[in-house]
C-alpha cells in the first residue's frame, strides 16, 4: 500500500517535471540515493532531452532506495540505468550518461 503510494507520488513528481502530458519518449531513470553519479546522470539526461527531444519526452526517476521492489521489473542491476520504455523496443543505458554520443546511440535518437 505505502509502497504503491510512494510509487504514485514519485510518478506524479516525475510527471510534474516533464513539460508535455502525452510524450513520445518515455524514459525512466533508476538511481539508488542521490549519489554523485545519480545527480550527474539526471542532469546529463535532462540536458540531452532538452536539446534533442524538446516537448516529446517524460522522465521518471525511480529511487530504488525508496522503492526497492521496482528494480525487479526492469531487471535493474547497474546504477544508474536509463530505460527507454517508449518508443519500442525497450532499451537500457547504464552509467552516468556522461558520454552523450553513446547515450544518443543507445536511445536511437539520431534518426530524428
Amino acid at each position: 500500500m505505502t509502497k504503491a503510494a510512494t510509487a504514485r507520488r514519485e510518478k506524479a513528481r516525475a510527471a510534474k517535471a516533464t513539460p508535455v502530458p502525452n510524450p513520445l519518449w518515455e524514459l525512466r531513470l533508476y538511481i539508488a540515493g542521490r549519489t554523485a553519479k545519480a545527480v550527474a546522470a539526471l542532469s546529463n539526461l535532462q540536458h540531452i532531452c532538452d536539446e534533442r527531444l524538446v516537448g516529446k519526452y517524460r522522465i521518471e526517476v525511480i529511487d530504488l532506495l525508496r522503492n526497492p521492489a521496482l528494480g525487479r521489473g526492469d531487471q535493474i542491476l547497474a546504477i544508474p540505468t536509463l530505460v527507454r520504455r517508449l518508443p519500442n523496443p525497450v532499451k537500457k543505458i547504464i552509467g552516468d550518461l556522461s558520454n552523450a554520443r553513446r547515450v544518443l546511440v543507445g536511445l536511437d535518437i539520431k534518426e530524428l
Partner: protein
C-alpha cells in the same frame, strides 16, 4: 615502546581466550556427507565458492544448500539466479523432490532471477551495481534470509561491460554479504587453468569447493574436493558424489576407522556340510567372498545362504548384476532353492541392474540407500567383480572398502561373489579385496579324465577353526551338495575317478561282507557238528552210566542181603553155618574164614 612484562602476560592471557570466542562457526550444508568432510558444514556468515565445469551440479548444490537450510535448519534463503528463471529452477529441482514454489509461498525461500541482455545495454559512463545490492537486500529482508546463493554471478561479466567496475563491485558485494552475516554459496564456471573464469577465488578466500565431472571409459563419475577452507581442518581428498532423486550425496571415507563390533554369533551357510567345515557357519556381520570361475555355482552358494537367513525370518538384500530377478529365481528354483516365496513374504529383496548402467559410485549409493531403507541382516552382491568393471581399479578399491566398512559397521553379514577370469589364478581376485574379506571360499574347477569337476576350498576364515580339506561338490536339484572326500595318490579324487574309487570301495565292502557271512556259516556248521558229537557222547555215557549203576545197585543189594540170609539159615540150623549156595566162592571163603575165626 617495549612491552612491559605485565602487558605481555595480559596479551598471552588474551590469546588463550581466543579459541572459544573466535572458533569458526559452521552452517550445516544439508548435503549428505559434505558436513562430515568439512567438519560441520560451510563457514557461517561467509561466502563459499562452488566451482566446476558445466553440468557438474553447481546450481543443484546451491539450491540444495538453501532448501535444506530452510527446511531442516530453519534458515530461510535467497536464491539469486543469473541464468535460469524461477520457473525453470522450480521445474529443474522438482525432479529432486524439492517443491520450490511451495517454499516461496511459505516465505522460506526467495528466488530472484537476474536477467541481463548484453545487446540491450549501452554503457555511457561510470556505474555501480547498487541495483543488485538493492534487490538482494530486498529479497533477504522479505524472508529474513540467513543463506544466499548466487548462481553463476560470473555471467555478469558477459552481460555487463567494464570488467574493472564489475570486479570491484563483486568484491564489495562479497564484503557486504559477509557484513550481513549471510552464509553464501557462489557458483562459478571453471576456467582454463583457474577455478573460475573470472578468478572469483581471489575474492572468496574462506571456502572453495570444486566439483568435477569426469568421464573415464565412457562412465561418468562426479567428484567433490574441498580446495580450501580457511580456519578449519577438512578432508582434502576427492570424494565421489552422486546426484539422484534425493539431491547430492557425497560419500566420505569416514568409516576407515575400523571400529566395528565383532559378533561371535554364527550364521548358517545353508549347506550342512559347509557348516561343519566352518565349525558352525559364518560369523554374523562378517564379509564372505565366494570366488570362482564361470559356472562354479557362486550364485548357488549365495542362494543357500539367503534361503537359510530368510527361513530364520531375517531380511535379505540380493543385488544381482548378472541376471534379472526372474532369471535368478528360475535358476535357483531349478536347483531346489525357492526364493520366490521369500520375496512374496517380504523378507527378500532382489535388486537387479546392469553394472554398466551407471558408475560404481552410483551403484554404491543405491546399495547404501537400499541398505539404509531395508536394514537387512544379510546382503549379497553378485558378482562384485562386475561392479568393479564399471569404475577404475584404484577408485573401485576405495569404494569397495567404503562399502564393506559401511556394511560391517551396521553388523550386516555380506556375501560377495567374484568371478575369476578363465585361466587366472583362482586365489587372485580381480577386485583385490581379498584382504578385506573375513571368510573366503574358493570354488575351483578340476579338469581331467575328460570332465570338469568342482572343488571347494576355504582359503581363510578369520577367527574360526575351519577345515583345510579340498572338498568336491555337485550342484544337484537339491542345491549344492558337498561330497565325501576320496584321497588318491595324487590328491583328492573327483568326478569319475571318485566314482570309480567309490565303486571299488563298494566292491571291497561287498567282498568283505561275503567273507564274513561265509565264516559265520562255517562257524554254525562247526558248532552243529560239535553239538551232534556231544549228544552222541552224552548218549553213550548215559547208557554206560545206567548199566554201571544197575550193576552197583545189584552188588549193594547182594552185599546187604547175604548176612541176613546166613543168619536166617543159621537160625534154621541152629548153628553157625554158612549158607553154601550164597554168592561167589571168594566171598564165601572170606566170610567162611571169618566165621571160622569167630
Amino acid at each position: 615502546m617495549r612491552p612491559t612484562p605485565k602487558s605481555v602476560a595480559s596479551r598471552s592471557r588474551k590469546i588463550k581466550e581466543i579459541p572459544t570466542s573466535l572458533s569458526l562457526e559452521k552452517a550445516p550444508s544439508g548435503i549428505a556427507g559434505l558436513d562430515e568432510i568439512t567438519g560441520g558444514g560451510l563457514p557461517r556468515g561467509r561466502p563459499t565458492l562452488v566451482c566446476g565445469s558445466a553440468g557438474c551440479g553447481k546450481t543443484l548444490f546451491a539450491m540444495e544448500f538453501l532448501v535444506r537450510g530452510a527446511v531442516e535448519h530453519g534458515e530461510p534463503g535467497v536464491f539469486m539466479s543469473f541464468e535460469e528463471t524461477e520457473e525453470e529452477l522450480a521445474i529443474n529441482v522438482a525432479s529432486l523432490g524439492f517443491d520450490v514454489r511451495q517454499m516461496v509461498k511459505r516465505k522460506q525461500l526467495a528466488i530472484d532471477h537476474v536477467r541481463v541482455e548484453r545487446n540491450e545495454i549501452e554503457e555511457t559512463g561510470a556505474f555501480d551495481l547498487e541495483g543488485l545490492f538493492v534487490r538482494l537486500r530486498l529479497a533477504i529482508e522479505s524472508v529474513g534470509a540467513k543463506r544466499v546463493a548466487l548462481d553463476t554471478i560470473e555471467s555478469l561479466f558477459s552481460s555487463l561491460p567494464n570488467p574493472a567496475i564489475l570486479r570491484s563491485e563483486l568484491r564489495r558485494l562479497f564484503r557486504w554479504l559477509k557484513d550481513q552475516g549471510m552464509t553464501t554459496v557462489i557458483t562459478g564456471e571453471q576456467g582454463v587453468g583457474t577455478f573460475t573464469r573470472q578468478g572469483l577465488e581471489e575474492y572468496i578466500s574462506d571456502c572453495v569447493i570444486f566439483l568435477d565431472h569426469r568421464v573415464n571409459d565412457q562412465i561418468s563419475t562426479r567428484r567433490l574436493r574441498v580446495v580450501k577452507y580457511r580456519g578449519t581442518t577438512h578432508g582434502s581428498n576427492e570424494y565421489p558424489f552422486l546426484i539422484d532423486e534425493t539431491g547430492i550425496s557425497v560419500l566420505p571415507i569416514t568409516s576407515l576407522r575400523l571400529d566395528h563390533k565383532a559378533s561371535s554369533e554364527r550364521v548358517p551357510t545353508g549347506i550342512e556340510r559347509l557348516d561343519e567345515m566352518l565349525g558352525g557357519g559364518y560369523f554374523k556381520g562378517t564379509t564372505i567372498l565366494c570366488s570362482g570361475s564361470a559356472g562354479t555355482g557362486k550364485t548357488s552358494i549365495a542362494a543357500h545362504l539367503v534361503r537359510a537367513a530368510c527361513a530364520k525370518g531375517e531380511r535379505c538384500l540380493f543385488f544381482a548384476f548378472e541376471e534379472s530377478s526372474a532369471q535368478l529365481l528360475r535358476n535357483m528354483g531349478s536347483i531346489g532353492i525357492d526364493l520366490g516365496c521369500y520375496i512374496a513374504n517380504g523378507s527378500l529383496d532382489l535388486v537387479a541392474s546392469r553394472p554398466y548402467a551407471q558408475g560404481l559410485e552410483m551403484h554404491l549409493l543405491s546399495i547404501h540407500k537400499a541398505v539404509t531403507q531395508r536394514e537387512p541382516a544379510l546382503v549379497v552382491i553378485d558378482p562384485v567383480s562386475n561392479l568393479v568393471g564399471s569404475g577404475s581399479q584404484l577408485g573401485s578399491n576405495s569404494m569397495l572398502t567404503r562399502l564393506l566398512d559401511f556394511l560391517k559397521n551396521r553388523g550386516i553379514t555380506t556375501l560377495f561373489t567374484s568371478l575369476t577370469e578363465g585361466g587366472a589364478d583362482t586365489e587372485q581376485t580381480s577386485v583385490g579385496i581379498s584382504s578385506l574379506i573375513d571368510t573366503w571360499l574358493v570354488l575351483d574347477v578340476v579338469r581331467g579324465g575328460g570332465e570338469r569337476n568342482h572343488t571347494l576350498d576355504i582359503v581363510k576364515s578369520r577367527g574360526m577353526a575351519h577345515s583345510n580339506q579340498t572338498t568336491e561338490y555337485r550342484i544337484s536339484d537339491q542345491g549344492v551338495l558337498l561330497l565325501d572326500t576320496y584321497l588318491g595318490p595324487s590328491g583328492v579324487l573327483t568326478g569319475s575317478a571318485r566314482l570309480a574309487r567309490e565303486a571299488a570301495d563298494r566292491a571291497q565292502v561287498a567282498l568283505q561282507e561275503e567273507e564274513i557271512a561265509r565264516q559265520q556259516a562255517l562257524r554254525g556248521i562247526r558248532r552243529n557238528a560239535f553239538d551232534g558229537r556231544l549228544a552222541t557222547l552224552q548218549g553213550e555215557f548215559a547208557v554206560e552210566d545206567a548199566e554201571l549203576d544197575r550193576d552197583i545197585q545189584e552188588r549193594i543189594r547182594q552185599r546187604d542181603g547175604a548176612p541176613a540170609a546166613r543168619a536166617a539159615m543159621a537160625r534154621s540150623r541152629q548153628a553157625f553155618a554158612r549158607a553154601p549156595g550164597a554168592g561167589h566162592g571168594k566171598h564165601n571163603g572170606k566170610h567162611g574164614g571169618k566165621g571160622h575165626r569167630t
